[in-house]
Symmetry: D2
Subunit: 337 residues, 4 copies
């Protein structure tokens, strides 16, 4: 086991640059050893002020440098498949930002490759699992403190979407987090997805039907629904209300200083995911580092990445057809049970 | 126009007895002139302590006594049809507790009879329309202060159900209020209903599948959903969260003294509909009295009663089949437009 | 005992006019029989639309008309003393808006006159005692559900003050309600008052030092403090936080629809006392009417009016001197024990 | 400037042991190089699992080992004076847990010694300054977004006190945090302290009068008051309500999952300071490390430690006498302006 994780951060865009700063300034037991991006300017900007970090435009070069013993993969999703195979070949731990890969078939190839390797090396970046409230709700479901969980209502609201955010991305980039959260809360697989399209906001770009109402079922029959609303303007909100046999639990409520002025009481809405989940990212990365130094996973696995990819495929078809679509999953390899 | 409403309260069960006390103790401009119930003991108990109130076991006798100029109908719903026809014949104002009648066909007969009379005499007891928060949400929808309304999420939770509460009554007795609320909020008719049955609580009596998730659409495409959960144990909750183009509004939140003791912060959950809507009942009855003294309606009409009956019929079929069921409505008579 | 309270409302200013509408439209068992004001135009405006109400410019004329069997006194406080003596002479129930009289000495004369009459005829208009949260907090203190009450923190904030509102009126018109509330909550007399003057807002008119911090002790040693802040701009707030041996209770929290828009979560601050205590006024007047028809008091007595007047005198001296000032009370007549 | 802070943690009790774990597991840029405690067993327990950390029973030995370039002082306060002088002599950065020293005179000696050294080496552990809500309130006061700050109401409530917690420790160990918070919020010195003793809980140990009400003034006339209540049973609470010219701000409100069950709504009260301020401790230590690596202070200075010691002395006298006691401060050395 290494003493310290010498991380190659692959992808120096917004998310990668954030992780570089995080590892350098706030994470114990890890250092940024390499930054990899095809854009050399971006590489140089990212390693500026990070002593000891070297820049690469190619993952292979970084992996073969001998100075790297872990990878944080923060490129766009379509580049994940090939990079993950290389990391598995190098047999070192990797934190792969979601999605594992953009579709279920390619995700399944990753699962098979890792199963063949016989060691869980891939942790997927579903950071919500490291949010304190998410963990408390999961624990309450597990220990049945309020009896059986029956229904989950999710709200996922963004102020607006970046350019090029398509209608399918509502499912693949946004609801994907809810698929994972529902799997995390219930400890069950999702069996079907249905999508309702109703009245749309005039604030969505062309081609997006926003909001949408996504209906989900799990293997034991828990009903979940998601209001996905990505041009909601007012602010950012990720919240869940859970109905149990013996009570109701809500997480994701607004907090912070409480102000009364000019006839209004209240506070500031969380503006975005960085503010909402910043602490969860820190905890996620620290958990990954601590576990990787022990040769373990500190979070969701490649199987979780594959299963949510399958949910997304069903979700996109449901969005297109309006019908209830079953989620198709291969058998879970032993490595993940 | 009369100076004072001399009300015959028909039905001296729990709801009727409540209204008798309300009119006697808290309502201005009305007095309990008669109490009608087939059970004479109940009549006598109800008029005890109400000076001037006379008891009857028959509505005809009360109407022909010359001492009554208005009716409050609080019998079980299956008795409403005949009583309403008599009141229309007497051409006096009536407040009819919901439902107007138990099914759309008999409700339509009432609508036709009133249309033939040519005067709106029947107000239906959807008391939520008199709740301050309901009125504020409706106003916000109407004046588009937050842009267009897009989605409504309703929670309707009861601690438990009385004996004999069947699976169909989840729709006919509970969701009926949500049908009316959605119609009230949007000012639109409901066009379809779908019902999802998932994991059920072990606290429901035999024959009830509880909770259920009801999916509703309005004529302009507003999506609504209702979690109906009538054995929820924790307390009583009727709440709505509305998503607009420019923001989110919630009503029905817990209030009252805020206590911290023994490691817990919070307060008391509203135990039942009397506590939640007691003030709304007062306002409803006062509004009916004030309007009736002017020869007008002070609340929802027979048409509203008919339209919600049609929604209930669609809802019960949707519950049975799992399919999305269209709501069938006759053309609205001129009297109600 | 009369069947109905035929009320002479004395004083047709803002508060009197409100009470006239209240009695006419929302109170059962009472009617406005007379309106008395020295300004005949105001009388005529007030009785317009109130069938059966007669106008007077003189209380004696109203009392001797034979058409009045109760009085609601809503004139400025300096006119209360003489009017109350006349009502006591007529031996009919009166609801006297606070203050009983403007000073302890004249209040004591009223107490003595009522004690001599031997019947409690005077109810004082401390309407907060009819607010549901006030009643719940009092009940919790009485039944010691959280052990002994130890400390009370009061906030009394107004958006602004009417013209002519002097520094002494912060005590006599505003803190007077807190004096009564503390007496009501604890069931004890107040023994001393101290006033701290610190940094003042620039939004107060000349001559007012605003806010002030008032320190109060009760006979058993409960510590209370009041932030009185009458040009607080943001809205209206009357709130209390109570520290018990076993917990903390807060009343007066903001409620109503919960809105998120434009980066803010929250709702509307109550704008003024009508919105905050409107329901309490209704309950107060109905309680007075119901009790008066039984020959009883339905709320605080002349003794309560006298005791708060004595607190105000101590408060004004404390405001002037900065010292802790003892409250001087005569012995309580048997009538009030 | 060193690359990494090699910290000697002095004092391996509860707080010291926490900091050792924190530095080892969550802080970037620092490592635990030494643990010093007179109790060798405690030293050995503390360094177990911390690779590279050496144990000492004597600060001098640690300082002269050549392996330490910073000190975190977590012994009882009465040992701080001598240790701080040694650290100043070594001219290395130190984070000194509060209090700086137990009294104003000895604190002043530290200030003088540091002023003579001419470099700010001492940061005092008032960790609340690193709480996000504290920082937001301070910023709002500074930028006058709601006009001038006028009044501060503080609540400081603990479930219970450890054995041996004396009446004076309510001031010296608990209110000391409020003294610093008021100085932090306002950027002003405290000029006087008064203490009110009223009704006491039966849950306090002998010799403690609990709760107490502490009245504080700042140099510009801001009024503050503190309810210090250290046997409050219900849980832990540190909260402030600030009255401004244009509004009211509250911090320290309860948060976390919102549960409704068994007739109650609410959540869990924070049980203690670790849960309330755990994140603030992390931020404080990281801030100290980051600043120390640049040769700067990352938080409150020795002057802040001295000034709060002077407030505590005034507070204890005020507690004993009931009088308003002025706070005596020496002139601030140039180093701190």
């Amino acid at each position: 086991m290494p003493d310290i994780l010498r991380v190659a951060v692959v992808g120096a865009g917004r998310m990668g640059a954030d992780h570089i700063q995080r590892i350098h300034h706030r994470i114990s037991g890890a250092e940024v050893a390499a930054v990899v991006d095809i854009d050399l300017d971006r590489v140089n900007a990212a390693i500026d002020g990070i002593p000891g970090a070297k820049g690469y435009t190619d993952l292979d070069a970084a992996l073969s440098s001998g100075e790297v013993n872990a990878v944080l993969l923060a490129t766009p999703g379509f580049l994940h498949h090939d990079a993950l195979l290389k990391v598995l070949e190098a047999d070192i731990p990797v934190l792969c930002e979601k999605p594992l890969t953009p579709d279920a078939a390619s995700s399944w190839e990753i699962v098979e490759a890792e199963a063949k390797l016989g060691r869980k090396r891939i942790q997927v970046g579903f950071m919500r699992r490291f949010d304190a409230e998410y963990q408390q709700l999961r624990q309450l479901i597990e220990n049945q403190g309020l009896g059986e969980l029956l229904v989950l209502h999710h709200q996922h609201r963004n102020p607006s979407t970046p350019e090029g955010f398509t209608n399918q991305m509502l499912i693949n980039d946004s609801v994907v987090h809810e698929f994972d959260a529902i799997r995390y809360f219930t400890g069950e697989e999702i069996t079907s997805v249905q999508v309702r399209l109703g009245k749309a906001t005039r604030n969505a770009p062309n081609g997006q039907h926003d909001p949408q109402h996504v209906l989900i079922e799990t293997s034991s029959g828990v009903l979940a629904d998601v209001e996905i609303y990505v041009n909601a303007k007012f602010g950012y909100e990720v919240a869940t209300q859970a109905s149990f046999e013996d009570g109701i639990v809500s997480i994701g409520n607004d907090a912070g200083p409480y102000v009364r002025t000019a006839g209004q009481w209240g506070g500031k809405v969380t503006p975005g995911f960085e503010e909402r989940f910043g602490a969860a990212y820190d905890t996620e990365i620290q958990s990954w580092v601590d576990a990787a130094l022990r040769g373990e996973l500190g979070g969701p696995s490649a199987w979780d990445g594959y299963a949510t990819a399958a949910c997304c495929e069903a979700g996109v078809e449901a969005q297109r057809t309006g019908a209830k679509v079953d989620v198709q999953l291969n058998s879970k390899p032993d490595l993940y049970s």
